[in-house]
Symmetry: C2
Subunit: 231 residues, 2 copies
Amino acid sequence: MPVPVSFRDIKSDVLARLAGGTWGPGETLPTEAELSASYGCARATVNRALRELAEEGYLERKRRSGTRVRRAPERQARVAIPQPRDEVEGQGARYAHQLLSRAEQPAPAWLATRLGLGPAAPMLHLVCLHRADGAPFQHEERWISLAALPSAGGVDFARQAPGEWLVATMPYSEVEVGFSAVAATAGQAAALRCSKGDPLFQVDRATWFGGRPVTFVRLCYHRGYRMATRT
Amino acid sequence: MPVPVSFRDIKSDVLARLAGGTWGPGETLPTEAELSASYGCARATVNRALRELAEEGYLERKRRSGTRVRRAPERQARVAIPQPRDEVEGQGARYAHQLLSRAEQPAPAWLATRLGLGPAAPMLHLVCLHRADGAPFQHEERWISLAALPSAGGVDFARQAPGEWLVATMPYSEVEVGFSAVAATAGQAAALRCSKGDPLFQVDRATWFGGRPVTFVRLCYHRGYRMATRT
DNA sequence: GAGTGGTCTAGACCACCCT
DNA sequence: GGGTGGTCTAGACCACTCA
């Protein structure tokens, strides 16, 4: 009996052929049926290998027209955005957080637009600071829709960080994330112990549940933070 | 005959049960065999659904011990890092690029460390500016190992951007990517028409091929750039 | 209309890992 | 040792899309 061929073997063989120029950019690969015959395995195995390579940006697949080599393999990166507690403790440091301000107020216009809220929707506005061994780690400015989560009004966010409460309360939601560089505001500079105008790495994230807006957050990391690719 | 159950149906049903609290954080799900019986489908279908949910950060799977609900679903984002030409033209703007400087020089110490190069390895050092409709879009500082790619010494990078040449020459390589916020240097500020010290979004990427260092690049986007999640 | 990938089935064997 | 997920097979039908 032949040695069973794994979809991993096929993936690395196809990648090697791409790197070696057997199949050049824009060319069409043999069909799944042909490949399964030449590898001596089932078509499902070839299918999984090619599907994952397409997912990773190397190939383009279309019914009827077949599998083609992408002209420029797509550069993509996957990044994890952990809770600050996990990130800090993962570095072996002691985590702490602090609630800097709390207010119930109507959503400002930019926020209503960003989340698709009605005008002057009631929101809980929180500002927090996360620390690693006492040093400022991340500044968080969060808005929570009191229409979607009325119970948020009664939570003591000095005890539990808003992100941790939200992930426990509403774990499975649709999100939209952006990354950018911003100049530290006066408030951020004071909290993060840097100068106003310093460059800060910012993550903004909007969250919906079942199409309804839930929360929006701006996370600003301490100066010099670098987010690295996972895996 | 029963309606065929798709792995997508199972994914969304499992997600709905997670959101609804049927299976709480840390709990163990029924086995694949049990689920396939209750859904009335093959185990392979359940397997694909659960495998993808684990991949997306909702579940944790281990042989023998089964499938568990992650205590905090992992927040992750997938981002694409296209060639500036594709990004600019995708916005409907006209792309152009410009070679600001070119030099053959030994690798500085920090670069040798980052890539795992021998001391004073011969490198090609390039600085480019990418434009969208004439406006500065991205500043690129690139180092190419002449040991790994001697032919780079003879390429006219004023005609072809280094990234485009590299992706055509050496498309399938191992990469390590980081994202951060930096203060514009004098050179970046002049090229990007901003002020020195302005916050810029920076992507750094190191590339190897078969374990050998190939190239390192720092991409600094124009002020105000925001990288959004794909999908 | 016909060819290609997309998916599902039913069954099987295996690797890993907890007890 | 035994239970669980990981994977492969052989076959089938379907959906999409190009000619």
